[in-house]
């Protein structure tokens, strides 16, 4: 499946097969989740990041089924590059209506970066001014968990984390994804 046809598929699924919801509602809901976590965990932003990742992981485990059902993908991706392409052009397009750019491939084709030029989860957000948030909190960390959970259900074990974020003052929002290994099919237990 070529890159342009994937883009078209993403566009088509977004337009026709998804129920839409008000973007501000999503932004405000996600924002209140993060704000409440920060309050509950008393400003321990490292722990907040972990919890967001966990929540994202649980979402990803289920989201992949919805993704496969709606996008009607029949074939597995041939290699990790294809996977990246599908994530960006079909996955993100379908659920958030954004298409992050793929960049910074490592030489062994096992790592790449997603560059977000717009992030609907972080509209109107300014990180709190208490000195720690700016350097410790990854606001959109749930997305990392989603990708990790979703790819695990299609037999890929990956690690996803943010390396820069415009909310922190950097120029771009960039997520680094690297493939740890492909998970083998499970064999049935031999109890005969």
């Amino acid at each position: 499946m070529s890159s342009t046809s994937r883009a078209r598929l993403g566009e088509e699924v977004w337009k026709l097969r998804t129920d839409k919801i008000n973007a501000e509602l999503v932004t405000l809901t996600y924002g209140s989740v993060v704000a409440q976590l920060c309050k509950d965990l008393d400003g321990d932003y490292v722990e907040v990041n972990k919890q967001l990742d966990k929540m994202g992981y649980n979402i990803g485990l289920r989201l992949i089924e919805d993704f496969l059902a709606k996008s009607n993908m029949q074939q597995k991706c041939a290699n990790f590059r294809d996977t990246a392409d599908v994530i960006s052009k079909v996955g993100f397009k379908m659920f958030l209506n954004i298409t992050p750019t793929i960049a910074n491939w490592s030489s062994d084709n096992k790592q790449f970066s997603l560059l977000f030029d717009e992030n609907p989860l972080a509209d109107f957000v300014e990180l709190p001014d208490d000195g720690k948030a700016q350097s410790e909190l990854w606001y959109s960390n749930m997305l990392c968990g989603v990708i990790r959970g979703a790819l695990e259900m299609v037999q890929m074990s990956v690690d996803a984390h943010f390396v820069s974020d415009v909310l922190r003052g950097n120029d771009t929002t960039e997520m680094r994804i690297n493939l740890i290994r492909y998970i083998e099919d499970e064999m049935p237990q031999d109890d005969e």
Binding site: Y30, G31, D123, V125, E126
Partner: protein, 221 residues
């Protein structure tokens, strides 16, 4: 016999402490000292200002000493208008305050309040809260125009749906620019509310908010 002369605005220069006005005319200069200056309504922008002086010190020789020139001073507001802007929360607590001077007519945008006036501004703003509470239920509008007058300063108010008040203390009347300014501020305030880390009645400390308010002031005031 008193001679009333109307002088164009640009031709009259006030000194810093507003006690002397100097008028340049074709053949010389006349300075009027010991001016009793009454602050009042802003005159026409390009129109004339009439000046009065209780004491005339003539310098050019051809001005007769007999002539008592009576002018009525209406001091232009123009370049020395200053504004004090404050956002007040639901518990009468200030959330944000700023001072600007007018940018119009070559003003440099820096507020020219005297020291005592600065403290007074806060009191004026707070005292007008009572007037606002009286008036707020009578009107359906969010922009309440001018709600209070103290000596020669006016207080205009914009009331949001969440009972947050934007107050502007100013010394000249101008409805339309102030309304536009308030509309811009309301837009910025709504965006601040959308920030999940901001709670209602929290002080607004964001730098971007500050810069944008100042830009809005520059645009309209």
């Amino acid at each position: 016999m008193p001679l009333v002369k109307t002088l164009p605005l640009d031709d009259v220069i006030l000194t810093e402490d507003e006690s002397t006005a100097v008028y340049r005319y074709d053949s010389g200069v006349v300075s009027f000292a010991d001016l009793q200056i009454a602050r009042g309504e802003r005159g026409l922008k390009t129109g004339a200002v009439t000046i009065s002086s209780s004491f005339l010190s003539p310098s050019p020789s051809h001005l007769s000493l007999d002539i008592v020139v009576v002018f009525v001073i209406i001091i232009m507001a123009g370049s020395s208008t200053s504004y004090y802007f404050v956002i007040i929360g639901t518990k009468d607590n200030p959330l944000y305050e700023a001072e600007f001077g007018s940018f119009k007519q070559g003003g440099d945008g820096i507020a020219k309040f005297r020291e005592e006036q600065r403290h007074m501004n806060q009191f004026i703003a707070h005292s007008s809260l009572d007037c606002i509470e009286d008036q707020q239920w009578a009107s359906k509008e969010m922009y309440l125009k001018t709600v209070d007058k103290f000596n020669n300063t006016w207080v205009s108010c914009f009331l949001t749906g969440g009972n947050i008040k934007f107050l502007l203390v100013h010394d000249t009347r101008s409805d339309e620019p102030i309304r536009q300014f308030f509309t811009d501020v309301y837009d910025l305030y709504c965006k601040t509310l959308m920030n999940p880390f901001y709670e209602v009645n929290m002080a607004i400390r964001s730098q971007t908010f500050d810069q944008k308010i100042k830009a809005a002031a520059k645009k309209y005031l």
